[in-house]
């Protein structure tokens, strides 16, 4: 193989890009929502997701078979108020579901999440065999 990426995954990624450009999909709001970052913190994989205006009970986080899914619905209750009108609307509202593969083997029993200033941070502990190891070298 010339490159080591899975062509099907690559196709799926392209489809997601196109969905993103088109803005909306039949899944609700853009597949791009929420934007995420993934970090390697040594013993943990850390995922941060930007979910401004939401609280922890409005987002459902699930992990299954190496795939992390963030799902929920973002509402703006004020939009429904009487005598209220939107002059400009850029913030996405509606249902969303975003799944992505976690690149490392993790321990499904050790996942924790916290929510602060509209950012959800999810800590996934790496499986014992995936943790970086220090091999002591004995100098003879």
């Amino acid at each position: 193989m010339l490159w080591d990426t899975d062509p099907w995954k690559e196709l799926d990624r392209m489809r997601q890009e196109i969905d993103g450009i088109l803005g909306r999909t039949h899944h609700g709001i853009s597949r791009r929502f929420p934007p995420i970052n993934i970090y390697d913190a040594g013993d943990d994989i850390v995922v941060s997701a930007e979910l401004p205006g939401m609280s922890k009970d409005q987002v459902n986080v699930t992990y299954s078979d190496g795939v992390l899914t963030l799902a929920g619905e973002r509402r703006d209750p004020e939009r429904a108020l009487e005598g209220y009108s939107m002059l400009r609307q850029e913030r996405p509202v509606g249902r969303f579901e975003k799944s992505f593969e976690i690149p490392t083997k993790i321990d499904p029993g050790k996942i924790s999440a916290r929510f602060r200033s509209g950012i959800m941070t999810i800590n996934l502990a790496k499986a014992e065999e995936a943790k970086p190891k220090t091999i002591p070298i004995t100098v003879a």
């Binding site: 970052n37 004020e78 209220y84 609307q89 509209g118």
Partner: protein, 140 residues
């Protein structure tokens, strides 16, 4: 839309329908690479006031600067990534941003109230008596 000359990366462009100008400064791996990734905002109104809600996940009030000039509200700040972990994947945007929203002169800027909660900056301004009047336009 990127400048080819690295030291003047970034730029200014008018958005359609006179909805204001956005300035963004970007760098190859560090910044708001596209206009669509600027902090998104909603503008709404009711009889008494106009409210702007901008998404600023991870930012606190000390990171933001809100100014009013000639009927335009300007919000600027810097969104910084928490460093120290090895980043594997990134969708979130960082860097300096500045967005200006023309709201018209019939608002009392002295009444402006701004709060920052759950990653959403909310600014509301009272309408002046002139701004509250609904103007009916005669159609010939």
């Amino acid at each position: 839309m990127r400048s080819l000359i690295p030291w003047i990366r970034g730029g200014r462009r008018s958005t359609p329908a006179g909805m204001g100008t956005e300035t963004w400064l970007d760098s190859p791996d560090w910044g708001w690479s596209r206009l669509e990734q600027m902090p998104t905002l909603d503008v709404s109104e009711d009889e008494k006031r106009v409210t702007v809600r901008m998404e600023v996940p991870g930012l606190s009030k000390d990171d933001l600067r809100v100014t009013w000039e000639n009927g335009s509200l300007k919000v600027s700040g810097e969104k910084r990534e928490v460093r120290g972990q090895k980043r594997r994947y990134r969708e979130c945007s960082y860097g300096y941003f500045s967005r200006s929203v023309p709201l018209g002169k019939d608002l009392d800027w002295k009444s402006a109230k701004a709060t920052c909660r759950d990653g959403v900056l909310t600014i509301s301004l009272d309408k002046t008596p002139a701004g509250r009047e609904a103007v009916s336009v005669k159609v010939d």
